[in-house]
Symmetry: C2
Subunit: 301 residues, 2 copies
Amino acid sequence: MTITHRPSAGTEAPPILREFWNLHLRRINDEIDRLLPSVDTAPSRLHSAMRHAVLAGGKRLRPILAVATHDAVGGKHDSIYAVAAALELLHTYSLIHDDLPCMDDDNQRRGQPTVHIAYDEATAVLAGDALHALAFEILAHRAPRQVMEIVAHAIGTAGMLGGQMADLEAEGTDPNEAAVVAIHERKTGALFIASAKTGAILAGSNAAVIADIEAYARPLGLAFQIVDDVLELTVDAAQLGKPADSDSRHRKITYPGAVGIEAARERAHELIEEAKAALKDFQGEPAILRALADFVVARNR
Amino acid sequence: MTITHRPSAGTEAPPILREFWNLHLRRINDEIDRLLPSVDTAPSRLHSAMRHAVLAGGKRLRPILAVATHDAVGGKHDSIYAVAAALELLHTYSLIHDDLPCMDDDNQRRGQPTVHIAYDEATAVLAGDALHALAFEILAHRAPRQVMEIVAHAIGTAGMLGGQMADLEAEGTDPNEAAVVAIHERKTGALFIASAKTGAILAGSNAAVIADIEAYARPLGLAFQIVDDVLELTVDAAQLGKPADSDSRHRKITYPGAVGIEAARERAHELIEEAKAALKDFQGEPAILRALADFVVARNR
Protein backbone atom coordinates (compact mmCIF):
# COMPACT_ATOMS: atom_id res chain seq x y z
CA MET A 1 0.00 0.00 0.00
CA THR A 2 1.27 3.46 -0.83
CA ILE A 3 0.68 6.41 1.43
CA THR A 4 -2.51 8.25 0.67
CA HIS A 5 -1.74 11.95 0.53
CA ARG A 6 -5.34 12.89 1.17
CA PRO A 7 -6.28 16.52 0.62
CA SER A 8 -5.74 16.62 4.35
CA ALA A 9 -6.95 19.91 5.71
CA GLY A 10 -9.43 20.10 2.84
CA THR A 11 -11.23 23.05 1.36
CA GLU A 12 -12.75 23.98 4.71
CA ALA A 13 -9.31 25.02 5.95
CA PRO A 14 -7.97 28.55 5.41
CA PRO A 15 -5.12 28.92 2.86
CA ILE A 16 -2.48 29.57 5.56
CA LEU A 17 -3.29 26.22 7.16
CA ARG A 18 -3.59 24.34 3.87
CA GLU A 19 -0.12 25.49 2.85
CA PHE A 20 1.36 24.53 6.22
CA TRP A 21 -0.45 21.21 6.25
CA ASN A 22 0.57 20.18 2.74
CA LEU A 23 4.19 21.11 3.38
CA HIS A 24 4.51 19.14 6.60
CA LEU A 25 2.10 16.26 5.96
CA ARG A 26 4.35 14.95 3.21
CA ARG A 27 7.40 15.04 5.49
CA ILE A 28 5.46 13.35 8.30
CA ASN A 29 4.22 10.62 5.95
CA ASP A 30 7.67 10.12 4.44
CA GLU A 31 9.10 9.73 7.93
CA ILE A 32 6.38 7.25 8.92
CA ASP A 33 7.10 5.24 5.78
CA ARG A 34 10.83 5.27 6.51
CA LEU A 35 10.37 4.22 10.14
CA LEU A 36 7.92 1.37 9.55
CA PRO A 37 9.74 -1.91 8.83
CA SER A 38 9.50 -3.15 5.26
CA VAL A 39 7.12 -5.97 4.34
CA ASP A 40 10.18 -7.63 2.79
CA THR A 41 11.59 -8.10 6.30
CA ALA A 42 10.32 -10.93 8.52
CA PRO A 43 7.79 -11.08 10.13
CA SER A 44 6.35 -9.95 6.81
CA ARG A 45 2.67 -10.38 7.68
CA LEU A 46 3.04 -8.37 10.88
CA HIS A 47 4.91 -5.57 9.12
CA SER A 48 2.27 -5.60 6.39
CA ALA A 49 -0.52 -5.26 8.99
CA MET A 50 1.30 -2.36 10.69
CA ARG A 51 1.66 -0.58 7.35
CA HIS A 52 -1.95 -1.30 6.44
CA ALA A 53 -3.16 0.41 9.60
CA VAL A 54 -0.86 3.41 9.55
CA LEU A 55 -0.72 4.11 5.83
CA ALA A 56 -4.45 3.77 5.18
CA GLY A 57 -4.73 7.50 5.64
CA GLY A 58 -5.88 9.42 8.64
CA LYS A 59 -5.75 13.12 9.28
CA ARG A 60 -2.35 12.95 11.05
CA LEU A 61 -3.72 15.56 13.44
CA ARG A 62 -1.46 14.61 16.37
CA PRO A 63 1.80 14.81 14.39
CA ILE A 64 0.58 17.98 12.65
CA LEU A 65 -0.13 19.46 16.08
CA ALA A 66 3.39 18.58 17.28
CA VAL A 67 4.96 20.08 14.17
CA ALA A 68 2.71 23.16 14.47
CA THR A 69 3.68 23.95 18.07
CA HIS A 70 7.33 23.27 17.26
CA ASP A 71 7.11 25.67 14.34
CA ALA A 72 5.08 28.23 16.31
CA VAL A 73 7.86 28.62 18.87
CA GLY A 74 10.56 28.78 16.20
CA GLY A 75 11.81 25.20 16.64
CA LYS A 76 14.27 23.77 14.12
CA HIS A 77 14.95 20.38 15.70
CA ASP A 78 15.66 17.75 13.06
CA SER A 79 13.95 15.06 15.15
CA ILE A 80 10.52 16.69 14.98
CA TYR A 81 9.25 14.54 12.11
CA ALA A 82 10.41 11.26 13.67
CA VAL A 83 8.93 12.21 17.03
CA ALA A 84 5.70 13.34 15.34
CA ALA A 85 5.62 10.02 13.45
CA ALA A 86 5.92 8.16 16.77
CA LEU A 87 2.82 10.01 18.02
CA GLU A 88 0.87 8.82 14.98
CA LEU A 89 2.04 5.23 15.55
CA LEU A 90 0.76 5.41 19.13
CA HIS A 91 -2.58 6.80 17.98
CA THR A 92 -2.87 4.08 15.33
CA TYR A 93 -2.02 1.30 17.80
CA SER A 94 -4.90 2.52 19.99
CA LEU A 95 -7.28 2.48 17.00
CA ILE A 96 -6.32 -1.09 16.03
CA HIS A 97 -6.99 -2.36 19.55
CA ASP A 98 -10.16 -0.22 19.86
CA ASP A 99 -11.52 -1.79 16.67
CA LEU A 100 -11.02 -5.41 17.88
CA PRO A 101 -14.12 -7.62 18.16
CA CYS A 102 -13.82 -7.66 21.97
CA MET A 103 -13.69 -3.86 22.03
CA ASP A 104 -15.72 -1.78 19.52
CA ASP A 105 -15.87 -4.50 16.87
CA ASP A 106 -15.54 -2.11 13.94
CA ASN A 107 -14.78 -3.43 10.49
CA GLN A 108 -13.82 -0.22 8.73
CA ARG A 109 -11.40 2.57 9.58
CA ARG A 110 -9.88 5.30 7.47
CA GLY A 111 -11.86 3.95 4.52
CA GLN A 112 -10.16 0.55 4.73
CA PRO A 113 -11.01 -2.76 6.40
CA THR A 114 -9.71 -2.77 9.98
CA VAL A 115 -6.63 -4.90 10.70
CA HIS A 116 -8.51 -7.83 12.22
CA ILE A 117 -10.71 -7.94 9.09
CA ALA A 118 -7.92 -7.49 6.52
CA TYR A 119 -5.62 -9.91 8.43
CA ASP A 120 -6.90 -11.65 11.56
CA GLU A 121 -7.45 -10.92 15.21
CA ALA A 122 -4.12 -12.25 16.50
CA THR A 123 -2.25 -10.20 13.91
CA ALA A 124 -4.27 -7.12 14.91
CA VAL A 125 -3.33 -7.53 18.59
CA LEU A 126 0.34 -7.96 17.68
CA ALA A 127 0.35 -5.14 15.10
CA GLY A 128 -1.00 -2.75 17.75
CA ASP A 129 1.61 -3.96 20.21
CA ALA A 130 4.33 -3.61 17.60
CA LEU A 131 3.40 -0.01 16.74
CA HIS A 132 3.39 0.76 20.47
CA ALA A 133 6.89 -0.71 20.88
CA LEU A 134 8.20 0.91 17.70
CA ALA A 135 6.97 4.33 18.83
CA PHE A 136 8.99 4.03 22.03
CA GLU A 137 12.00 2.77 20.14
CA ILE A 138 11.82 5.92 17.99
CA LEU A 139 11.34 8.15 21.04
CA ALA A 140 14.22 6.43 22.86
CA HIS A 141 16.48 7.32 19.95
CA ARG A 142 15.17 10.77 19.08
CA ALA A 143 13.20 12.44 21.87
CA PRO A 144 14.28 14.30 25.00
CA ARG A 145 13.59 12.35 28.18
CA GLN A 146 10.82 14.79 29.15
CA VAL A 147 8.93 13.97 25.94
CA MET A 148 9.13 10.24 26.65
CA GLU A 149 7.85 10.77 30.18
CA ILE A 150 4.94 12.94 29.04
CA VAL A 151 3.95 10.68 26.15
CA ALA A 152 4.19 7.44 28.17
CA HIS A 153 2.06 8.99 30.90
CA ALA A 154 -0.48 10.36 28.40
CA ILE A 155 -1.14 6.95 26.85
CA GLY A 156 -1.31 5.08 30.18
CA THR A 157 -4.15 4.43 32.60
CA ALA A 158 -4.21 8.09 33.73
CA GLY A 159 -4.75 9.05 30.09
CA MET A 160 -5.67 7.28 26.86
CA LEU A 161 -5.99 3.72 28.17
CA GLY A 162 -7.94 4.91 31.21
CA GLY A 163 -10.28 6.72 28.81
CA GLN A 164 -10.72 3.62 26.65
CA MET A 165 -11.56 1.58 29.74
CA ALA A 166 -14.01 4.20 31.05
CA ASP A 167 -15.57 4.43 27.57
CA LEU A 168 -16.23 0.67 27.57
CA GLU A 169 -17.53 0.72 31.12
CA ALA A 170 -19.92 3.59 30.34
CA GLU A 171 -21.58 1.74 27.44
CA GLY A 172 -25.33 1.64 27.93
CA THR A 173 -25.32 4.04 30.90
CA ASP A 174 -27.22 7.31 30.89
CA PRO A 175 -25.04 9.90 29.18
CA ASN A 176 -24.34 13.02 31.16
CA GLU A 177 -22.02 15.83 30.16
CA ALA A 178 -19.54 15.41 33.04
CA ALA A 179 -19.10 11.69 32.39
CA VAL A 180 -18.56 12.25 28.66
CA VAL A 181 -16.04 15.03 29.27
CA ALA A 182 -14.13 12.85 31.77
CA ILE A 183 -13.83 10.13 29.12
CA HIS A 184 -12.88 12.52 26.30
CA GLU A 185 -10.24 14.24 28.41
CA ARG A 186 -8.42 10.96 28.80
CA LYS A 187 -9.26 9.01 25.64
CA THR A 188 -8.56 11.84 23.18
CA GLY A 189 -7.39 14.81 25.21
CA ALA A 190 -4.33 13.33 26.89
CA LEU A 191 -2.49 12.41 23.68
CA PHE A 192 -3.59 15.70 22.06
CA ILE A 193 -2.02 17.67 24.90
CA ALA A 194 1.09 15.49 24.92
CA SER A 195 1.48 15.91 21.15
CA ALA A 196 1.18 19.68 21.40
CA LYS A 197 3.65 19.87 24.29
CA THR A 198 6.07 17.55 22.51
CA GLY A 199 6.67 20.02 19.70
CA ALA A 200 7.33 22.87 22.13
CA ILE A 201 9.57 20.78 24.41
CA LEU A 202 11.60 19.58 21.46
CA ALA A 203 12.11 23.25 20.53
CA GLY A 204 13.39 23.97 24.04
CA SER A 205 10.44 26.14 25.12
CA ASN A 206 10.24 27.49 28.64
CA ALA A 207 7.58 26.49 31.17
CA ALA A 208 5.34 29.50 30.43
CA VAL A 209 5.15 28.63 26.73
CA ILE A 210 4.45 24.98 27.52
CA ALA A 211 1.68 26.04 29.91
CA ASP A 212 0.11 28.15 27.14
CA ILE A 213 0.35 25.24 24.73
CA GLU A 214 -1.35 22.97 27.26
CA ALA A 215 -4.12 25.54 27.85
CA TYR A 216 -4.59 25.65 24.07
CA ALA A 217 -4.52 21.90 23.47
CA ARG A 218 -6.90 20.89 26.27
CA PRO A 219 -10.08 22.53 24.85
CA LEU A 220 -8.87 21.69 21.34
CA GLY A 221 -8.89 17.96 22.15
CA LEU A 222 -12.34 18.15 23.70
CA ALA A 223 -13.70 20.11 20.74
CA PHE A 224 -12.17 17.60 18.34
CA GLN A 225 -13.90 14.70 20.06
CA ILE A 226 -17.26 16.49 20.24
CA VAL A 227 -17.05 17.21 16.50
CA ASP A 228 -16.14 13.54 15.95
CA ASP A 229 -19.27 12.45 17.81
CA VAL A 230 -21.44 14.96 15.92
CA LEU A 231 -20.02 13.90 12.53
CA GLU A 232 -20.81 10.30 13.33
CA LEU A 233 -24.47 11.30 13.75
CA THR A 234 -24.68 13.62 10.77
CA VAL A 235 -22.55 12.38 7.86
CA ASP A 236 -22.42 9.04 6.08
CA ALA A 237 -19.87 6.25 6.35
CA ALA A 238 -18.24 6.94 2.98
CA GLN A 239 -17.34 10.44 4.07
CA LEU A 240 -16.16 9.33 7.52
CA GLY A 241 -14.16 6.36 6.27
CA LYS A 242 -15.62 4.30 9.10
CA PRO A 243 -19.07 3.03 10.06
CA ALA A 244 -21.28 5.97 11.01
CA ASP A 245 -23.31 3.97 13.51
CA SER A 246 -20.55 2.58 15.71
CA ASP A 247 -21.35 4.77 18.71
CA SER A 248 -25.06 4.01 18.70
CA ARG A 249 -24.48 0.32 17.99
CA HIS A 250 -22.37 0.14 21.14
CA ARG A 251 -24.58 2.47 23.13
CA LYS A 252 -21.51 4.67 23.67
CA ILE A 253 -22.07 7.77 25.71
CA THR A 254 -21.34 10.78 23.51
CA TYR A 255 -21.45 14.52 23.85
CA PRO A 256 -24.41 15.01 21.47
CA GLY A 257 -26.07 12.07 23.23
CA ALA A 258 -25.82 13.98 26.51
CA VAL A 259 -26.80 17.48 25.36
CA GLY A 260 -28.15 17.16 21.80
CA ILE A 261 -26.50 17.92 18.44
CA GLU A 262 -27.01 21.67 18.40
CA ALA A 263 -25.76 22.21 21.96
CA ALA A 264 -22.79 19.96 21.17
CA ARG A 265 -21.88 22.07 18.12
CA GLU A 266 -22.19 25.21 20.20
CA ARG A 267 -19.96 23.76 22.91
CA ALA A 268 -17.32 22.81 20.33
CA HIS A 269 -17.26 26.40 19.09
CA GLU A 270 -16.92 27.72 22.65
CA LEU A 271 -14.03 25.35 23.30
CA ILE A 272 -12.27 26.50 20.14
CA GLU A 273 -12.60 30.12 21.30
CA GLU A 274 -11.09 29.03 24.63
CA ALA A 275 -8.23 27.34 22.79
CA LYS A 276 -7.49 30.45 20.76
CA ALA A 277 -7.84 32.73 23.80
CA ALA A 278 -5.16 30.66 25.57
CA LEU A 279 -2.70 31.99 22.98
CA LYS A 280 -3.36 35.70 23.60
CA ASP A 281 0.03 36.30 25.27
CA PHE A 282 1.79 33.53 23.37
CA GLN A 283 5.55 33.99 23.07
CA GLY A 284 5.65 32.78 19.48
CA GLU A 285 3.69 32.89 16.24
CA PRO A 286 0.16 31.64 16.97
CA ALA A 287 -1.41 32.03 13.47
CA ILE A 288 -1.19 28.36 12.44
CA LEU A 289 -2.30 27.15 15.86
CA ARG A 290 -5.36 29.42 15.66
CA ALA A 291 -6.16 28.25 12.13
CA LEU A 292 -5.76 24.64 13.26
CA ALA A 293 -8.27 25.27 16.05
CA ASP A 294 -10.77 26.73 13.58
CA PHE A 295 -10.25 23.75 11.29
CA VAL A 296 -11.05 21.29 14.08
CA VAL A 297 -14.65 22.53 14.21
CA ALA A 298 -14.98 23.37 10.50
CA ARG A 299 -13.93 19.92 9.25
CA ASN A 300 -16.58 17.70 7.74
CA ARG A 301 -14.94 14.26 8.09
CA MET B 1 -4.37 -9.79 45.78
CA THR B 2 -1.16 -9.87 47.81
CA ILE B 3 2.17 -10.71 46.27
CA THR B 4 2.97 -14.38 46.43
CA HIS B 5 6.52 -14.79 47.69
CA ARG B 6 6.85 -18.23 46.20
CA PRO B 7 9.82 -20.30 47.29
CA SER B 8 11.31 -18.86 44.14
CA ALA B 9 14.52 -20.60 43.23
CA GLY B 10 13.31 -23.66 45.14
CA THR B 11 15.24 -26.53 46.61
CA GLU B 12 16.82 -27.40 43.28
CA ALA B 13 18.87 -24.18 43.45
CA PRO B 14 22.26 -24.10 45.21
CA PRO B 15 22.38 -22.18 48.54
CA ILE B 16 24.37 -19.27 47.05
CA LEU B 17 21.61 -18.67 44.50
CA ARG B 18 18.76 -19.20 46.98
CA GLU B 19 20.23 -16.55 49.28
CA PHE B 20 20.70 -14.09 46.41
CA TRP B 21 17.25 -14.80 45.02
CA ASN B 22 15.42 -14.40 48.33
CA LEU B 23 17.22 -11.16 49.08
CA HIS B 24 16.46 -9.53 45.74
CA LEU B 25 13.09 -11.09 44.89
CA ARG B 26 11.48 -9.29 47.79
CA ARG B 27 12.89 -5.94 46.67
CA ILE B 28 11.80 -6.57 43.07
CA ASN B 29 8.30 -7.50 44.20
CA ASP B 30 8.08 -4.52 46.53
CA GLU B 31 9.09 -2.25 43.68
CA ILE B 32 6.53 -3.82 41.33
CA ASP B 33 3.84 -3.34 43.95
CA ARG B 34 4.87 0.29 44.46
CA LEU B 35 4.92 1.03 40.72
CA LEU B 36 1.59 -0.55 39.81
CA PRO B 37 -1.29 1.91 40.25
CA SER B 38 -3.62 1.19 43.17
CA VAL B 39 -7.00 -0.42 42.60
CA ASP B 40 -8.40 2.53 44.58
CA THR B 41 -7.44 4.80 41.67
CA ALA B 42 -9.65 4.96 38.56
CA PRO B 43 -9.82 3.05 36.27
CA SER B 44 -10.11 0.59 39.13
CA ARG B 45 -10.99 -2.48 37.09
CA LEU B 46 -8.05 -1.95 34.74
CA HIS B 47 -5.60 -1.46 37.61
CA SER B 48 -7.03 -4.53 39.29
CA ALA B 49 -6.48 -6.59 36.12
CA MET B 50 -2.90 -5.33 35.82
CA ARG B 51 -2.20 -6.31 39.42
CA HIS B 52 -3.90 -9.67 38.97
CA ALA B 53 -1.59 -10.53 36.10
CA VAL B 54 1.67 -9.27 37.56
CA LEU B 55 1.19 -10.22 41.20
CA ALA B 56 -0.12 -13.75 40.55
CA GLY B 57 3.45 -14.95 40.94
CA GLY B 58 5.93 -15.91 38.28
CA LYS B 59 9.59 -16.65 38.64
CA ARG B 60 10.68 -13.03 38.01
CA LEU B 61 13.56 -14.49 36.02
CA ARG B 62 14.06 -11.42 33.80
CA PRO B 63 14.31 -8.92 36.68
CA ILE B 64 16.45 -11.38 38.66
CA LEU B 65 18.73 -11.65 35.64
CA ALA B 66 19.03 -7.85 35.42
CA VAL B 67 19.78 -7.56 39.14
CA ALA B 68 22.26 -10.47 38.90
CA THR B 69 24.31 -8.94 36.07
CA HIS B 70 24.19 -5.56 37.79
CA ASP B 71 25.45 -7.15 40.98
CA ALA B 72 28.03 -9.28 39.16
CA VAL B 73 29.76 -6.21 37.76
CA GLY B 74 29.64 -4.39 41.11
CA GLY B 75 26.72 -2.09 40.24
CA LYS B 76 25.12 -0.01 42.99
CA HIS B 77 22.60 1.97 40.93
CA ASP B 78 19.48 2.74 42.93
CA SER B 79 17.28 2.45 39.83
CA ILE B 80 18.04 -1.24 39.31
CA TYR B 81 14.89 -2.50 41.03
CA ALA B 82 12.56 -0.11 39.18
CA VAL B 83 14.18 -0.95 35.86
CA ALA B 84 14.03 -4.67 36.68
CA ALA B 85 10.36 -4.24 37.59
CA ALA B 86 9.72 -2.63 34.19
CA LEU B 87 11.19 -5.73 32.50
CA GLU B 88 8.73 -7.93 34.41
CA LEU B 89 5.83 -5.67 33.39
CA LEU B 90 6.84 -6.05 29.75
CA HIS B 91 7.08 -9.82 30.10
CA THR B 92 3.67 -9.94 31.80
CA TYR B 93 2.04 -7.78 29.12
CA SER B 94 3.26 -10.26 26.50
CA LEU B 95 1.80 -13.17 28.50
CA ILE B 96 -1.62 -11.48 28.84
CA HIS B 97 -1.85 -10.91 25.09
CA ASP B 98 -0.42 -14.37 24.33
CA ASP B 99 -3.15 -15.95 26.45
CA LEU B 100 -6.02 -14.17 24.63
CA PRO B 101 -8.63 -16.33 22.87
CA CYS B 102 -7.42 -15.13 19.45
CA MET B 103 -3.85 -16.10 20.37
CA ASP B 104 -3.11 -19.18 22.51
CA ASP B 105 -6.50 -19.16 24.26
CA ASP B 106 -5.12 -20.25 27.63
CA ASN B 107 -7.27 -19.98 30.73
CA GLN B 108 -4.63 -20.44 33.41
CA ARG B 109 -1.29 -18.78 34.06
CA ARG B 110 0.92 -18.66 37.14
CA GLY B 111 -1.68 -20.82 38.91
CA GLN B 112 -4.42 -18.20 38.42
CA PRO B 113 -7.14 -17.65 35.83
CA THR B 114 -5.76 -15.59 32.94
CA VAL B 115 -6.88 -11.95 32.73
CA HIS B 116 -9.53 -12.49 30.04
CA ILE B 117 -11.04 -15.25 32.20
CA ALA B 118 -10.86 -13.41 35.54
CA TYR B 119 -12.01 -10.12 33.92
CA ASP B 120 -12.93 -10.06 30.23
CA GLU B 121 -11.24 -9.91 26.88
CA ALA B 122 -11.38 -6.13 26.41
CA THR B 123 -9.89 -5.60 29.86
CA ALA B 124 -7.16 -8.12 29.04
CA VAL B 125 -6.19 -6.26 25.86
CA LEU B 126 -6.10 -2.94 27.74
CA ALA B 127 -4.29 -4.37 30.79
CA GLY B 128 -1.53 -5.68 28.51
CA ASP B 129 -1.34 -2.32 26.76
CA ALA B 130 -1.27 -0.51 30.10
CA LEU B 131 1.62 -2.62 31.46
CA HIS B 132 3.48 -1.96 28.20
CA ALA B 133 2.97 1.82 28.56
CA LEU B 134 3.76 1.79 32.30
CA ALA B 135 7.02 -0.06 31.69
CA PHE B 136 8.15 2.66 29.29
CA GLU B 137 7.03 5.36 31.67
CA ILE B 138 9.25 3.78 34.35
CA LEU B 139 12.16 3.41 31.93
CA ALA B 140 11.72 7.02 30.74
CA HIS B 141 12.12 8.16 34.35
CA ARG B 142 14.78 5.76 35.56
CA ALA B 143 16.79 4.11 32.80
CA PRO B 144 19.71 5.33 30.71
CA ARG B 145 18.75 5.99 27.08
CA GLN B 146 20.74 2.97 25.91
CA VAL B 147 18.59 0.69 28.07
CA MET B 148 15.40 2.12 26.60
CA GLU B 149 16.72 1.63 23.08
CA ILE B 150 17.78 -1.97 23.75
CA VAL B 151 14.59 -2.93 25.55
CA ALA B 152 12.25 -1.28 22.99
CA HIS B 153 14.09 -3.06 20.18
CA ALA B 154 14.06 -6.41 22.01
CA ILE B 155 10.29 -6.42 22.42
CA GLY B 156 9.56 -5.24 18.86
CA THR B 157 9.12 -7.09 15.60
CA ALA B 158 12.83 -7.94 15.41
CA GLY B 159 12.49 -9.58 18.85
CA MET B 160 9.65 -10.70 21.09
CA LEU B 161 6.70 -9.66 18.92
CA GLY B 162 8.34 -11.09 15.82
CA GLY B 163 8.78 -14.34 17.74
CA GLN B 164 5.14 -14.37 18.82
CA MET B 165 4.05 -13.84 15.23
CA ALA B 166 6.38 -16.55 13.91
CA ASP B 167 5.19 -18.88 16.66
CA LEU B 168 1.56 -18.42 15.57
CA GLU B 169 2.44 -18.79 11.89
CA ALA B 170 4.36 -22.02 12.57
CA GLU B 171 1.41 -23.72 14.29
CA GLY B 172 0.68 -27.05 12.63
CA THR B 173 3.83 -27.03 10.49
CA ASP B 174 6.47 -29.75 10.69
CA PRO B 175 8.78 -28.86 13.56
CA ASN B 176 12.44 -28.63 12.70
CA GLU B 177 15.22 -27.53 14.99
CA ALA B 178 16.25 -24.42 13.03
CA ALA B 179 12.68 -23.09 12.88
CA VAL B 180 12.16 -23.66 16.60
CA VAL B 181 15.44 -21.96 17.50
CA ALA B 182 14.59 -18.98 15.28
CA ILE B 183 11.30 -18.54 17.15
CA HIS B 184 12.85 -19.04 20.62
CA GLU B 185 15.64 -16.56 19.90
CA ARG B 186 13.10 -13.84 19.34
CA LYS B 187 10.13 -14.82 21.49
CA THR B 188 12.14 -15.55 24.65
CA GLY B 189 15.77 -14.86 23.87
CA ALA B 190 15.56 -11.20 22.91
CA LEU B 191 14.10 -9.99 26.22
CA PHE B 192 16.39 -12.34 28.17
CA ILE B 193 19.44 -10.79 26.51
CA ALA B 194 18.06 -7.26 26.93
CA SER B 195 17.37 -7.93 30.63
CA ALA B 196 20.88 -9.22 31.21
CA LYS B 197 22.47 -6.30 29.37
CA THR B 198 20.25 -3.81 31.20
CA GLY B 199 21.80 -4.64 34.57
CA ALA B 200 25.32 -4.28 33.22
CA ILE B 201 24.58 -1.05 31.31
CA LEU B 202 22.97 0.47 34.39
CA ALA B 203 26.18 -0.34 36.27
CA GLY B 204 28.21 1.48 33.62
CA SER B 205 29.94 -1.60 32.24
CA ASN B 206 32.27 -1.35 29.27
CA ALA B 207 31.57 -2.92 25.86
CA ALA B 208 33.66 -6.04 26.57
CA VAL B 209 31.67 -6.84 29.70
CA ILE B 210 28.37 -6.25 27.89
CA ALA B 211 29.53 -8.55 25.07
CA ASP B 212 30.30 -11.28 27.64
CA ILE B 213 26.89 -10.80 29.22
CA GLU B 214 25.23 -11.12 25.84
CA ALA B 215 27.21 -14.27 25.03
CA TYR B 216 26.05 -15.67 28.39
CA ALA B 217 22.39 -14.65 28.07
CA ARG B 218 21.83 -15.90 24.51
CA PRO B 219 22.27 -19.65 25.21
CA LEU B 220 20.65 -19.13 28.63
CA GLY B 221 17.44 -17.88 26.98
CA LEU B 222 17.37 -20.76 24.52
CA ALA B 223 17.99 -23.31 27.30
CA PHE B 224 15.23 -21.73 29.37
CA GLN B 225 12.70 -22.09 26.55
CA ILE B 226 13.74 -25.69 25.78
CA VAL B 227 13.28 -26.58 29.45
CA ASP B 228 9.90 -24.83 29.37
CA ASP B 229 8.82 -26.96 26.42
CA VAL B 230 10.10 -30.15 28.10
CA LEU B 231 8.36 -29.34 31.39
CA GLU B 232 5.09 -28.86 29.54
CA LEU B 233 5.41 -32.42 28.27
CA THR B 234 6.58 -34.02 31.49
CA VAL B 235 4.98 -32.38 34.53
CA ASP B 236 1.36 -31.72 35.42
CA ALA B 237 -0.62 -28.48 35.29
CA ALA B 238 -0.69 -27.98 39.08
CA GLN B 239 3.09 -27.88 39.18
CA LEU B 240 3.37 -25.65 36.11
CA GLY B 241 0.64 -23.23 37.18
CA LYS B 242 -0.69 -23.32 33.61
CA PRO B 243 -2.27 -25.93 31.34
CA ALA B 244 0.28 -28.61 30.49
CA ASP B 245 -1.21 -29.31 27.08
CA SER B 246 -1.25 -25.82 25.60
CA ASP B 247 1.55 -26.46 23.11
CA SER B 248 0.07 -29.70 21.78
CA ARG B 249 -3.45 -28.26 21.73
CA HIS B 250 -2.21 -25.49 19.45
CA ARG B 251 0.11 -27.71 17.47
CA LYS B 252 2.96 -25.38 18.47
CA ILE B 253 6.35 -26.31 17.15
CA THR B 254 8.60 -27.03 20.13
CA TYR B 255 12.17 -28.14 20.67
CA PRO B 256 11.26 -31.57 22.08
CA GLY B 257 8.75 -31.85 19.24
CA ALA B 258 11.58 -31.39 16.77
CA VAL B 259 14.27 -33.59 18.33
CA GLY B 260 12.59 -35.60 21.13
CA ILE B 261 12.59 -35.08 24.90
CA GLU B 262 15.94 -36.66 25.68
CA ALA B 263 17.81 -34.81 22.93
CA ALA B 264 16.11 -31.58 24.03
CA ARG B 265 17.30 -32.08 27.63
CA GLU B 266 20.78 -32.76 26.37
CA ARG B 267 20.76 -29.63 24.21
CA ALA B 268 19.61 -27.53 27.17
CA HIS B 269 22.58 -28.81 29.20
CA GLU B 270 24.98 -28.03 26.35
CA LEU B 271 23.59 -24.50 26.08
CA ILE B 272 24.03 -23.96 29.81
CA GLU B 273 27.67 -25.04 29.51
CA GLU B 274 28.02 -22.52 26.66
CA ALA B 275 26.47 -19.82 28.82
CA LYS B 276 28.88 -20.51 31.69
CA ALA B 277 31.85 -20.76 29.32
CA ALA B 278 31.05 -17.26 28.03
CA LEU B 279 31.98 -15.98 31.50
CA LYS B 280 35.45 -17.52 31.62
CA ASP B 281 37.25 -14.16 31.28
CA PHE B 282 34.45 -12.18 32.91
CA GLN B 283 35.57 -8.90 34.50
CA GLY B 284 33.36 -9.31 37.53
CA GLU B 285 32.04 -11.94 39.91
CA PRO B 286 30.38 -14.68 37.85
CA ALA B 287 29.32 -17.07 40.67
CA ILE B 288 25.66 -16.07 40.80
CA LEU B 289 25.36 -15.92 37.02
CA ARG B 290 26.76 -19.46 36.79
CA ALA B 291 24.43 -20.71 39.52
CA LEU B 292 21.52 -19.04 37.74
CA ALA B 293 22.44 -20.87 34.53
CA ASP B 294 22.51 -24.21 36.38
CA PHE B 295 19.14 -23.41 37.93
CA VAL B 296 17.56 -22.78 34.53
CA VAL B 297 18.03 -26.45 33.58
CA ALA B 298 17.56 -27.89 37.08
CA ARG B 299 14.19 -26.23 37.73
CA ASN B 300 11.11 -28.41 37.77
CA ARG B 301 8.39 -25.80 37.15
